[in-house]
Symmetry: C2
Subunit: 808 residues, 2 copies
């Protein structure tokens, strides 16, 4: 064998320029691997055999691309798992080829440069589209949310806020009450005071909500069923290497964007953050089609999707760094450092695009801009940790309750009437929400108000304090006694807390786009503000207590209720999603001060510990389990002491593993094996007796090759021998010509021994992204473990039904 | 075989409660694996065989710990690579055992809880120590730097700044000139004006510098040779799984902390940021000894070191998030998400500890606090990108020149006189630095001044503008004409630029602790400020030019030279270290505004592209190569088309691989193999003829076992047969008793086929952290590939000398 350092081992081209006429080759349309002449004959077969693994070779660039265009070759079927090793090998081959060709001509050099920059180009495009779509969604949902309450008469395309900006008839004090903005009762009855106008407004509010949600659910049901939900569980599964065709397609994108606006505007207890990630991933996936590098390679495409997810979070919160960390921590499976840098770029572009659209009208990037004036005291960590405990408890409770309800929906008649369910939930939400100021406004508006640190000029109920102007020094507001407004707000907020906490359980999972970030932050923010105001009043009236002495004197500004709301929001969000670093960083980007990282971190940590103690896995993991997606969790360690032999097929009492021998089978034999079994691949052994493993062949490749050989190669009949060996033995001339299939064999299948602990096997599957792995004992082939087997085994060990895993 | 799901396959305990008297077991002190009685006899051997891989089993917890305490077992020799798979398996076993025992007693439960929280505890301690040490270093180096120029007479322990704070005799305008602070000439001659006092000050400056550097180099040479340099290349190598004993030990810590202060104070062109990371890692390593979980497991310890590195950067710059990302991007090798969260915690604790020490006296966390007032314009991206190009060029040039110089030091007589070299460099630095204001001050002070946005009250030369008070509106300073001071500063800065750029090449690598962050930032900041002032004056005098029209009218504040300095600093740092995300995030944390991320990102991106085009790899990678550390780069893809068979040993013409047979060898035979070869492990095959792989045994285990058996087991002589099989065949009674060594065999060695492409092999080694991998062909053992072989092959492919790799 030729063994020089630079072996050109996959010199495959598409021209049948071989001279070995006695070998029957698979031809053209399917898998035409033949050799170039500069390779010694003895090396050729090996080279060709290697090709099936490496996709293509150094020569015949454009033609190799054509080969990948052959339908069925190099692609995967729906609901299948990709082979990361193979995809990455293919990408490296592609890269090598472009590089080697780049020296040939200027055009090829340009091609190579444009190829190198195509990733950055793609990131730029993703950032631009994700930012624009987020701006569009923000603007339309603001307008439609306000439409439920009234309309801007002279300029109907303005929302309430913009309407009053345009108006000349308002003072700063009363900036949300301009004559141009008419509530429905004002428009119809000409007045807004009294019982009847109230009922009319109430009615219009509920009707608009029902209309929006009906539209949303009908659009989802009829045009893009994948557009419902938050999409994060599915995106996690897709990024881990699963294929769900259409989940990130253009219809999903269009319908999800539209219905997201409708669902948010209908006032349901849901957020737009999760779905925005889905929308950004759809953009990423669609834009991948512009670049061959990403269109044709499932592994590379997943890198792009990871970056798109970062861009999605970036525009959802205006937090680019948090977005990248969210993608890294929560969503992605394979996240090389190159992707980190590109994700960051995409996230930044998206954030700046959104800012130039300026949907909030305040040139701020962030959804909830907060500025606190007072530092926090070490003793305040106690209430912050209490908020963390609350967040953890709520998170764990929410996950259980929501999963139980979703399970019920899946298994009972309920699931058959999605439209009715949505309408019912919307009706209940709207009817209960309208009478309470804090539930009538949109959740994000409410959170914004709860985060707010009351200034002297704030006119909201929450800031209705008894002002003592003698004590105010230099802009710093001291703690003050609460006025009536604050007490009213407390009652309303308590009711809103119960309402939000309960209705969200029934809302998350209905057949409209629905995110969980905003509702869980709302619950936490209410709880936090309640606790914050309580602490503030306590310290105001009892500033001589031991715990307040020293840091909370009379006239000092020592408690910031807005900070409590923020910490509470982080705690609840952390409890439900189990985010850690990304959560803290997102919140840090909202406030922009390192100052408040410690309270946020204390709450997020406590919340995660408490929630983890009550049940492992985030709401997304729980939904992945519920839906049986084949997701190999990278965070949790497999901790049981089983061995590969306990998991492999065939099991002890099963018949022996179906294998193909290298030289003793005929076309007939193999066709029989294909029709009798449903395995997606077969190991090739030296002989039945020795059971020594030679390679692995995929079912699909085998079928395509034999079919094509029968059609295009003369003399191939059912009794033709099939050879996977390097050399074909000379045969009697009476025998039919033999079929040489070494080309489609994978010569480097992954093998482990039967004694390998499953923890290591799980690790290998995870880190290398395998689809299957062969099991040997003392060099003899014994069995096979597929990703499905691993997932089933993990489910079994966790006392779950192993057959619940959805897998083709 | 018993094949139930929950196989307890490594039921090993230390009590020889076996009843199989006919088997000779390895005893106590070495490797006593025997079975508990609840395992069927047929399963025992397998279970025991498995033990060597998994470290310990479910039973006999404390005793298994004892087993790991046996000298030589489970540890590695110096300059060896760890086996990540084995270490992680051992940790999982440990965890499993503690978990299973936690149900037995309250004490064990407490132990299990404390074990779970020991990681967090360790992080807290690391944060506290790293923060305190950083504060100590900051304070002492400030004081000693000022000592070179003078002393505070009434309070000698104060530095210049603190001295004048204490003084009552200063105005705000002249706040750095107080009578209490005496320069050396004032102290000795009583006056500071004139030529002679200048010469005296000059002389004292040089003398102090020489004294400090002499002390530093002597301490390093005599007490801790590992304390020199930045330490980052070595830490990268250690984190990738290499063992360098003492590199992170207590002596290194003590000496590095002391000499770092001396080196920084001596005024050499070096920074304390890199060495601070080393110091933090030393703390981490030493603190690991407090917790069994980390003391005994090399993989777990490396997780801690990753977090410690993050804490180091966090205190170096006051940038916790940037620190974590730096550790993730630049330093770490194996960085699971759990580590991310913990690193963040450690980084935060460290940052807050440092802040409470408050070494800069401004309650700021960050090293260079900057606040800019004017936004930047899109057209300014052109100069920013120019700065990026400059940074990339400088980085690439610096790496080449520094490596060439270090290579010269290694290979010529120069390397034999480290003390003389350090004194020489210090003398040149001090002599050239004193006359120029900008080189006389410490680099970080200079950078601080360059980043500064000139206010009306700033009295430095750089802010000597011609003020036009008519044009000043509301605090916003318009662009102004430069005064004489600015022109002088420009000249001095130009000279400083050349000086810093040249002297740093010779400084980085001398035998004192030396970081590169500050010098490269200094070069970039000077260049940036020069360009910034040039742009500013251009726009002031030519505001009617097309490019300035519209955004840079007369009287507008359109160019911020400080921002240019910052962008330049980022570009040069990026060029030398090839940091990307972490660089931008660190800079973002310095300014605290998302506003300026885009200029920074543009410069960092350009700089990296330009530098990468001129030579791959950061300065740290270059030093790793230069020193031949066995570091398997995770970022670069292996892109050659070689196969496993080209890399494996034995090569084509070499004698066959040394293997041990399962049942046909005697003690004598194996001792002969051990003495004739130097391999650190041997594969075990079924028989010489079949060459079917059974397992793998480590040389050290084999030696220890045979020695111990000869001592402790009766009848073991040179002719005793050694069996690795499950069952020992019955032998004639005349034969000596046989030795059963299945217990020390690894039954699940990693295997690949000879046709596996090297790109995949490299991937496997990287991702799974293997030490070796066996190569088979059709189920027959063919050869072995070690990490060393892989590294040599990569070096060979890159046309480097493969024998330069340092490996035991």
């Amino acid at each position: 064998m030729d063994n020089k350092g630079f072996r050109r081992s996959s010199l495959a081209s598409f021209h049948s320029n071989t001279s070995d006429e006695d070998m029957v080759e698979i031809t053209e349309a399917t898998l035409d691997f033949t050799m170039t002449d500069d390779v010694p004959p003895i090396d050729r077969d090996m080279a060709a055999g290697f090709v099936s693994y490496n996709g293509n070779g150094l020569n015949g660039g454009a033609k190799v691309m054509d080969f990948l265009d052959v339908p069925g070759v190099g692609t995967y079927e729906d609901f299948n798992t990709i082979d990361w090793v193979r995809e990455k090998s293919r990408d490296r081959d592609r890269h090598r080829e472009i590089l080697s060709r780049s020296k040939e001509s200027t055009w090829a050099l340009l091609h190579s440069v444009s190829d190198a920059f195509s990733g950055w180009m793609l990131m730029l495009l993703i950032g631009l589209t994700a930012g624009s779509l987020a701006g569009l969604i923000d603007i339309s949902s603001h307008w439609m949310t306000d439409l439920k309450e009234g309309i801007c008469l002279p300029w109907f395309w303005f929302n309430h806020e913009q309407c009053c900006w345009q108006s000349n008839n308002v003072t700063f004090e009363d900036r949300n009450n301009c004559p141009e903005w008419r509530s429905w009762s004002q428009l119809v009855l000409g007045r807004s005071e009294g019982a009847f106008p109230y009922i009319l407004n109430y009615f219009m509010y509920v009707m608009w909500a029902l209309l929006f949600s009906l539209l949303a659910v009908l659009l989802v049901r009829n045009f893009a069923p994948y557009a419902c939900g938050s999409g994060i569980p599915e995106i996690k599964t897709i990024l881990s290497g699963f294929i769900i065709r259409g989940y990130l397609g253009k219809w999903t994108l269009i319908i999800k964007t539209m219905t997201l606006v409708l669902a948010v505007s209908s006032g349901l207890s849901l957020g737009k953050e999760g779905p925005l990630i889905h929308v950004a991933c759809c953009c990423g996936n669609i834009l991948c089609h512009l670049f061959t590098k990403y269109r044709k390679n499932e592994a590379k495409r997943r890198e792009v999707l990871s970056a798109a997810a970062a861009a999605g979070v970036s525009v959802a919160f205006g937090a680019p760094i948090g977005g990248v960390l969210f993608s890294l921590e929560e969503v992605s499976y394979y996240f090389p450092l190159k992707t980190l840098w590109r994700s960051f770029f995409a996230a930044l572009v998206a954030a700046f695009t959104l800012r130039s659209i300026n949907p909030f009208g305040n040139s701020r990037l962030v959804l909830f801009y907060v500025e606190f004036h007072a530092p926090w005291h070490l003793l305040e960590l106690i209430p912050f940790i209490l908020l963390g405990i609350f967040g953890g408890l709520w998170g764990a409770f929410f996950i259980r309750a929501n999963i139980a309800w979703c399970h019920r929906r899946k298994t009972t008649k309920l699931g058959r009437y999605p439209v009715a369910e949505v309408l019912m939930v919307t009706a209940i939400t709207a009817i209960l929400a309208f009478p309470n100021d804090y539930t009538r406004m949109s959740s994000s508006e409410m959170i914004s108000e709860l985060f707010n640190d009351c200034g002297l000029l704030d006119s909201s109920k929450l800031c209705d304090y008894v002002n003592d102007y003698n004590n105010t020094k230099g802009g710093n507001l001291p703690d003050r006694a609460a006025g009536n407004g604050v007490y009213t707000a407390m009652w309303q907020l308590s009711l809103a807390l119960i309402f939000k906490a309960v209705i969200t359980i029934f809302t998350f999972g209905i057949k409209v786009p629905s995110g969980l970030f905003i509702p869980s932050m709302a619950v936490g923010a209410i709880m936090g503000r309640l606790l914050g105001v309580a602490m503030e009043q306590l310290s105001f009236y009892h500033h001589d207590w031991l715990i307040f002495r020293g840091w909370c004197n009379q006239g000092a500004d020592c408690i910031t209720p807005g900070l409590y709301a923020m910490v509470g929001a982080a705690a609840c969000l952390g409890g439900a999603t189990r985010m850690t670093v990304s959560l803290v960083v997102i919140m840090f980007e909202l406030t922009g001060g390192l100052e408040y990282i410690v309270p946020l971190m204390a709450a997020a940590m406590t919340s995660k510990w408490v929630a983890d103690a009550l049940g492992r896995g985030s709401i997304y993991d729980a939904h992945i389990h519920l839906n049986g997606y084949p997701f190999l969790e990278a965070k949790e360690e497999f901790s049981h002491k089983t061995l590969a032999m306990d998991v492999m097929r065939p099991r002890r009492n099963d018949p022996i593993l179906t294998a193909i021998t290298q030289d003793s089978m005929t076309v007939e034999d193999i066709e029989a094996i294909i029709s009798e079994t449903t395995y997606s691949g077969f190991p090739i052994v030296v002989s039945r007796e020795s059971q020594r493993l030679m390679g692995f062949v995929l079912r699909r490749d085998l079928i395509i090759s034999i079919e094509s050989a029968r059609k295009k190669q003369e003399g191939i009949v059912s009794t033709s021998r099939i050879y996977f060996t390097e050399h074909t033995p000379t045969q009697p001339t009476t025998a039919p010509p033999s079929l040489k299939l070494r080309a489609i064999m994978d010569l480097s299948p992954f093998t482990i021994t039967d004694q390998t602990p499953m923890e290591i096997v799980v690790d290998i599957f995870r880190k290398l992204g395998l689809r299957q792995c062969l099991v040997t004992h003392n060099g003899r082939l014994l069995g096979i473990i597929t990703k499905k087997d691993v997932l089933k085994h993990i489910a079994q060990m966790a006392n779950q039904d192993p057959d619940s895993i959805l897998f083709n």
